[in-house]
Amino acid sequence: MMYGFEWDTATPLTYAWSILPIILIGLTVTLQAAAAGFAIALGLGLVFAMLRRSRIRTVSWTTAVVVEFLRDTPLLVQLFFLYYVLPDYGVTLPAFLTGAIALGLQYSAYTSEVYRGGIDAVPRGQWEAATALNLSRMQTYRDIVVPQIVPRILPAMGNYLVAMIKETPVLSVVTVLEMMALANMIGERTFEYLVPLTLVGVIFLILTLICSAGLHRLQKVLPKAGIPLR
């Protein structure tokens, strides 16, 4: 993807303009990685949050330790672990998938806390009322808990999505060709890092500013009382 583009290093501006198409290809990889990672984090985080609420002590305690461990160790080392250790046990995944899983694992620790906070914020009386009305656990979650916690947890989840987008450059160390990896490669060939790296920085800045503006709007639009699912 580096070829077929002419690099005009005459002035910083023409240089930036000429490498923009390459960086934008990297941007799509960045966004895909963040989307895949976030999907994993949302799903796995919910699983962790549920296991954490389990009535069996061993299950809830083990989950707490696992979540704490995931949260307190660096993404980079987790990524290396997945990338180098999984193949030793016969699991060979493409680098992109390994990266997305690493992002998802790290952030599932965060999202599980968000879910937990959301579920805990549902007043006790409602759980009791649901029991009194003879609703099953499944019905309680589907009709009572989820509609209330969705607007409550969305802003926090959005913040984590933005944070995750900003962590995707780490995936470049396991050969995922996202924005920063490409900028570095361009720098290596032209011996001129300032423009490509600044360009990537600016794109990240624009991206996060757009995302936080969107989140701000979302928070205003969301109904405070909850979203009915049916």
């Binding site: 307190d72 250790v85 900003k166 920063m180 890092y193 500013l209």
Partner: protein, 221 residues
């Protein structure tokens, strides 16, 4: 028991990680308070400068910042040692996040407190350092604790600018021995242990602040 032979090298790396993290936290705290106070109390110019700093360092990713300072800045004639670059960038990054914590805590000090200080003829600086900050700093501590852990985790990225920290050592040992599972498990446990220690440390500081002379009446409130 092959993994025992990794321990000396990993321990040396852990020492580097610990010192970089602590240095970055110290410098970052100064930046956080400077920018946070500038946002709340500074005039238009100061608060705009602080806002730009926070937005730039919170809005871009740390790895881009690190590479920018490591590869790009020397091209315009500014260069530091790798360790200095690592600490500086890490501090700038977490300082930006920290300044939001400082700003939030400072602006949550109630209006009545400010009015009371005014009634007692306190100056602006006196109000800030004698009334607002002592109360706000205790509110900041839990968030600062999380940020400290975050700093430790992010410090692993300095291995990518050739600093021989824990992650860097782990990489070198793995390249020699190919024992990925052993090396990386040990490394993860090492980071986990360090964050537990850091967490305990931050709790101690919080407790000291709550009891400290700067906050004599906290115990009763």
């Amino acid at each position: 028991m092959e993994w025992v032979s990794y321990l000396p090298s990993l321990a040396r790396g852990a020492l580097v990680t610990a010192s970089i993290t602590l240095a970055a936290i110290a410098v970052g705290a100064v930046l956080a308070f400077a920018a946070g106070i500038a946002r709340v109390e500074g005039g238009r110019v100061l608060s705009t400068v602080a806002l730009c700093y926070t937005e730039i360092f919170r809005g871009t990713s740390l790895l881009v910042q690190l590479f920018w300072f490591y590869y790009a800045l020397p091209l315009v004639g500014v260069s530091f040692e790798p360790v200095e670059t690592g600490i500086l960038v890490l501090a700038l990054h977490v300082g930006a996040y920290g300044s939001e914590i400082v700003r939030g805590a400072l602006s949550s000090v109630s209006v009545q407190q400010h009015e009371a200080a005014r009634a007692l003829n306190f100056g602006r600086m006196q109000t800030l350092f004698r009334i607002s900050l002592p109360q706000a700093i205790v509110e900041m501590m839990p968030a600062f604790g999380n940020l400290a852990i975050e700093t430790l985790k992010l410090s692993s990225l300095v291995s990518l600018i050739s600093i021989a920290d824990l992650t860097f050592r782990a990489q070198s040992i793995r390249n020699l021995t190919l024992d990925s599972a052993g090396v990386y498990s040990l490394t993860l446990v090492g980071y986990f242990a360090m964050s537990l220690v850091l967490m305990a440390l931050m709790r101690l500081i919080e407790r000291a602040l709550r009891r400290g002379p700067a906050f004599p009446r906290a115990a009763h409130s």
